[in-house]
Amino acid sequence: MVPTNYYVILSAVLFGLGVFAFIFKRNVITIFMSIELMLNAVNLAFVAFSQALGKLDGQVFVLLVIVDAAADAAVGVGIILLIARNRQPLNVERVDLLKL
């Protein structure tokens, strides 16, 4: 049996890598993928605790998170297409229309 601590620490490491990618990357699509990475890390912690406590609530929450990620992806891809259609580069530093 793998201790629950290992799963939670792996989850923390993956979440940290996701945060770093979110800060460091400059492409809109890659930043969006790092959000998905963070959601995956949270899912891992949910399933690990669900297994540790012997209850299935965590796995139901994972399903809800996955539905939310799918909705995120649909709306986010729409926004990315809109940025690209306006002939802007997909670099977040160039998308500064709302900047004062």
Binding site: L10, F15, F20, N27, A52, L53, Q59, L63, N91
Partner: protein, 171 residues
Amino acid sequence: MGWAMTAPLVVFFGLAALAVIGAVSLILQKHPIHSALSLIVVMVALAGLYLLMVAEFVAAVQIIVYGGAIMVLFVFVIMLLNAGVEEHTSLSKMAGPPGLLLVLALAGFIAATVARSGASVQAATQTGALSSTKGISEMVFKDFVYPFELTSFLVLVAILGATVLAHREKS
């Protein structure tokens, strides 16, 4: 239990290494399509970890929805937009070291909290009798039926939003 490497532990470390390598590769790759393929590696490794935790339904959903639907959407958009290699300005290079510090602090904080409270969360004696798919279906359609119905509304709103955003105005 000692430090003997049992078979589940070996599988765990293999899949965990695969997931971390994929996540690091996502950061290091310059081209978005390579980052997307790295993310698929992470998701498949996580599905393997879910199988290791006897959460077979979540593993299947992870493969089908994340590995199948969402990543195909990403790869499709990258190909459609012909996204090139990302460029780093001086400002974004400057964001690297503080970001690394922040991430190390965050991960260290979480790891320290886990290590301190580690004794209280013990791995339950796993009996194979806990059929997770049947249990999940009963919970989703009995205890969590209102949140479940609300997610259908969420997906409907997301579809409408995506349609409105992608709609080309005729003028």
